[in-house]
Amino acid sequence: MKEPVKDWESQLAGRPPIKNGFTSDLEHKVRERIRMRQRKNKSAFRAVAALMSIVIILGGGWWFRDDWKGMLNLDKPEDALTALLNDPLGDKEVTLSVQLMMYRDFDQIKKPFIIRHPSVTIETIMTEVETMHQPEKFKAFVDKANPDIFMLPVEIYSAMAAEGKLKSLDTLFKQHKFDLEAYHAPLVEMLRLAGGGELYGFTTDFNSSTLLVNRGLFQEQGIALPEAGASIDDILNTAARFKGTGVYGLVTGSGSMERGGLSGFATFIGQSSGLKTLSYGEDKVEASLQSEGWKGVWQRLVDGYKDGWLGESKPIDWSKGAMTNKQIYSTELFANGKTAMIIADDRYYKDLLTYEAATKKPMDWISVPFKLDPGVTNPYDYLSANYVYAINAKSTNEEAAWELLRFIVGKETADKYDRIGDRGPNLLARSAAMKSQLKEKWNGYYGMGVDPERAASGRKDVADGRYIESQREFIKLGKEQMDAVVKGTKTVESALSELQGKLDAFLAGLGGRGGENNE
């Protein structure tokens, strides 16, 4: 090793001041996951294949146990055997290759599919998100691997649909009488628009945010509940009525991981009200923080914070290492009845339910959809899909690929996701499958009224090489300025002016897209 240039550098050669997490438990998980990936189910003949499947399961195939139970949840147990024997793919030995991104466990889909179609082998190819966002790299991957099914970010789905690389699903949906009515209509419309007017892909779940309301606290104070379709201004006015009651009317943050404090919340509220923050142009990134609109948002929130009706969610303290959800939420304000309202993301919806179940302290809370500005600049916070499944237009296994895609996005998988609670997605694309929780808890997320066309353009900015650095700086500088306003050392106007100036200087250093400093 080269001799360190400075004294301090020798400090870095030793052990870092954190507890290393690579334990024997982690090693075990690696081996287990490799074993799972290697399992293949091959069968030559339909009847033999079906029988073998049943024998394995009944013979104590622990790996399939939950899925067998799931199959028995069909209307009649004999439906399971019928499904196996009537397998439309039973005569064909097919290997399907599925390209995946690192999201949830695909075994949740692969295992039950294999039980129903034992003659099909599924090979999965994990792609790096890096590859997904570099067009040449992804094209090379597609040409080489030629998967039957893709799992794509919305932007890539859009581009590939336009290039004719994906199979149209509209015809297949119609042919097989796929019940589109059972799905969240704005999401379907968003996917259709992103596909250039036709459905070329589909998904199992989506992301959203909505207002969660502690009905109990409203009743205690005799304050009228916010109505569905209330504006952000209405919500802030309602929150202000909790001044002096001992609980907050509203708190910052999205409830789950987002604890960006007052400045982060100001950004969120401003964007939801149609205000811009950073714009990622070819030649430069531009900030637009110095406006009457932003002044109004910052002032309103600072006043609310000082008046005591707007609370600030504390950042999660990671210094002690990994924490359980129960530990994280033990101090979270809405989950512990310290605030009447919160604008929460879908992850919080699931986490809150899990926390209530774990602590056995259910609260009387509901979700209420509110009105967004038509020019909302963060539509993805209210309607977005992490991924879209699509069939390769060049697939030579169209029938099998369709059966798999239909299974992935269909009723059975959706029902299973609803049953398995916190191990499944948060908000199902198939709204008809959201049965295990009261509708009033989740219908707010489905009712946010985002223009699907705005949502269809996805998150192109995140793929920009300058995104992470610029957002990190924006967050840091925003917090500094907001802290100064709260302390009283600056006015909102001067804080925003300084924020704009400092951001301009930093962003100038980032340069254009694809520069030396950026990917």
Binding site: V5, E9, Q11, P16, R31, I34, M102, P153, S256, D317
Partner: protein
Amino acid sequence: MTDGLDRNTVLNELMGTYGKDVWNFAYFLTHRRELADDIAQEVFIKVYEHLYNFRGQSSVKTWLLAITRNTARDVLRSAWIRRVTLMPFHKETAANPSAEQETIDKLMTQQVWAVVFGLPRKLREALLLSSHYGLSMNEMAETLQVSVGTAKSRLHRARAAVSRKLSEDAVMTGEEEWT
């Protein structure tokens, strides 16, 4: 590596020898323990699947660190992480700093690490690949997939940034008056 070697044996060997290094690097890049856990697992799964693609064109350590870096970058860019605020590094603070040299050294080490974690990721990874992992300039360039010139430039800028920050902190805490 030859096809004749048992893959599981090689995997176990690699995890035993490099597991902690891979985890640390994942943590250095993401600041999140649970992400480091996920990334470390993903790295060794990829290693297992691509074992026979390794042609000895670099050291095993460099190869593993490059995979770790690419995987961490994917995670940081994925839609899931978009909704999460990047957390600052929380340095552990000693409860009662004493005059004992060992405690002062420990504080100094933590301070240096805290400053390094405050660097932009590109500079941080260059510095740690050199100072913590002991990679040569060529190895660093290979891991980062940049030219040797770019690697040198980032390392130089990282060192300058850390030196500057440590001098500022020394002035602010009045350490110069102490000694």
